[in-house]
């Protein structure tokens, strides 16, 4: 069954990607990209990567698509036909593809438990992490403890992206509350949005603190919380949203999250352990690990929430500007 689903999904992916190449209406392209993300997230679920699917759905289909749509609102939705350069790209792609196919010939069999990838490092994560770290979600264990440094880097990347977007687009000013915007004609939408936005925030908190046991964690929670506010901004207008969460606060929050994460590592340093070694945070190493993971997940969640929302604000501020003019 899983194989059939896999194949069907891959087929749909291929069709979607193929259409994206040729469709000139960028609006459609972006929507199809949303579908592409959804489909790939389904594949991730099908291949047991639930945390990844969670993230891909929230980020790829959610944030990326919203940002792309926001950009289209500013740049126009038609791709102009280009007469030149199809041969060279095609050639490059064919060569690259051929190289990859060549590479697959010696690849380990798909799904074979005896693959080297499953034999060397991974068994320890699977077998020992529930005892060493004390939480059932191995992905969270690896992410937040064994490879916490990667995740610190990831947080820095999000922060860097926020810095980049802010320096390029700047944050909207707070004092534009007078201008009515948003989907103001959609009364039903406004009512429903008011009802579900608290639900989403609640769900985000659940994902934040349930990440140890189920799929999810700081990153996903941050994105979902940001999604709630993005929804708010979309329905009620950016000025309203900036009143709820002011941009300056967001900027500070994004910075704070990184500091919380790195600070946790520095605390370990002061407790004469290696950087990001949580075992020393409590008497019991396992409890220490747990405390550490909660702390850094909080840092990740705050940074991601603030950074994503910041980025959205920056884009929305631009569309708002265009709208006024």
């Amino acid at each position: 069954m899983a194989e059939i689903i896999d194949l069907v999904l891959l087929g749909m992916l291929a069709i979607t990607a193929f259409n994206i190449i040729f469709i000139k209406d960028l609006f459609t392209v972006v929507m199809l990209f949303g579908i592409y993300s959804f489909l790939s997230a389904l594949i991730f679920v099908n291949l047991d990567a639930v945390d990844v699917a969670f993230t891909e759905a929230a980020v790829g289909a959610g944030i990326s698509t919203v940002l792309m749509l926001g950009t289209l609102a500013l740049t126009g939705r038609k791709e102009k036909a280009s007469s030149h350069k199809t041969i060279l790209p095609l050639l490059v792609v064919c060569v690259t593809g051929a190289a990859l196919i060549y590479g697959t010939l010696d690849m380990p069999l798909f799904g074979d438990p005896d693959n080297p990838a499953h034999q060397h490092v991974a068994p320890r994560y699977i077998e020992d992490s529930p005892q060493e770290i004390g939480i059932p979600n191995m992905v969270t264990s690896v992410l937040a403890s064994y490879r916490a440094f990667d995740t610190l880097g990831e947080t820095a990347v999000v922060f860097a992206a926020a810095i980049g977007v802010l320096s390029l687009l700047g944050l909207p000013k707070r004092d534009r509350a007078t201008i009515q915007s948003g989907l103001k004609s959609h009364l039903v939408l406004r009512v429903v949005a008011k009802m579900i936005i608290p639900l989403i925030v609640l769900f985000a908190l659940y994902v934040q603190f349930h990440g140890d046991y189920g799929p999810g964690g700081g990153f996903q929670a941050g994105v979902i919380a940001a999604a709630a506010l993005i929804l708010y901004a979309l329905v009620f207008g950016l000025p309203m949203a900036t009143h709820v969460v002011p941009p300056r606060v967001l900027k500070a929050l994004a910075a704070l999250g990184v500091l919380i994460y790195a600070g946790t590592g520095v605390v370990s340093l002061f407790l004469s352990a290696n950087f990001l070694d949580y075992s020393v945070l409590a008497e019991d190493p396992v409890a220490g690990q747990h405390i550490g993971i909660i702390a850094i997940e909080l840092g990740v969640g705050i940074t991601v929430f603030a950074a994503m929302l910041c980025i959205f604000y920056a884009f929305a501020g631009q569309t708002e500007r265009k709208n006024i003019q």
Partner: protein, 93 residues
Amino acid sequence: MLVLSATCIAILSVMALALARALKADTVYDRILGVNMFGTKTALFIALMGFLSGRPDFLDIAIVYALINFLGMIAVLRFFEYTAGDENQEQEK
């Protein structure tokens, strides 16, 4: 189990049809409709898959799907307002 599988396949075919609608549509609204339908069915599909694989605690993902689908729809509608003025209804097929 068989019923679950059958339902899965049915939903999968609905997804395929919705996708086809999104790819081949007369108006941009039809596209959006297809995309929306695709999104809701995907959420259902995930829920079914959770049961199929015996790990129903993945329902969180289905929630995210539903949420993101809604968000995406609103974003499409919102930003479509800006671009609709730019060009006429699309005509390509």
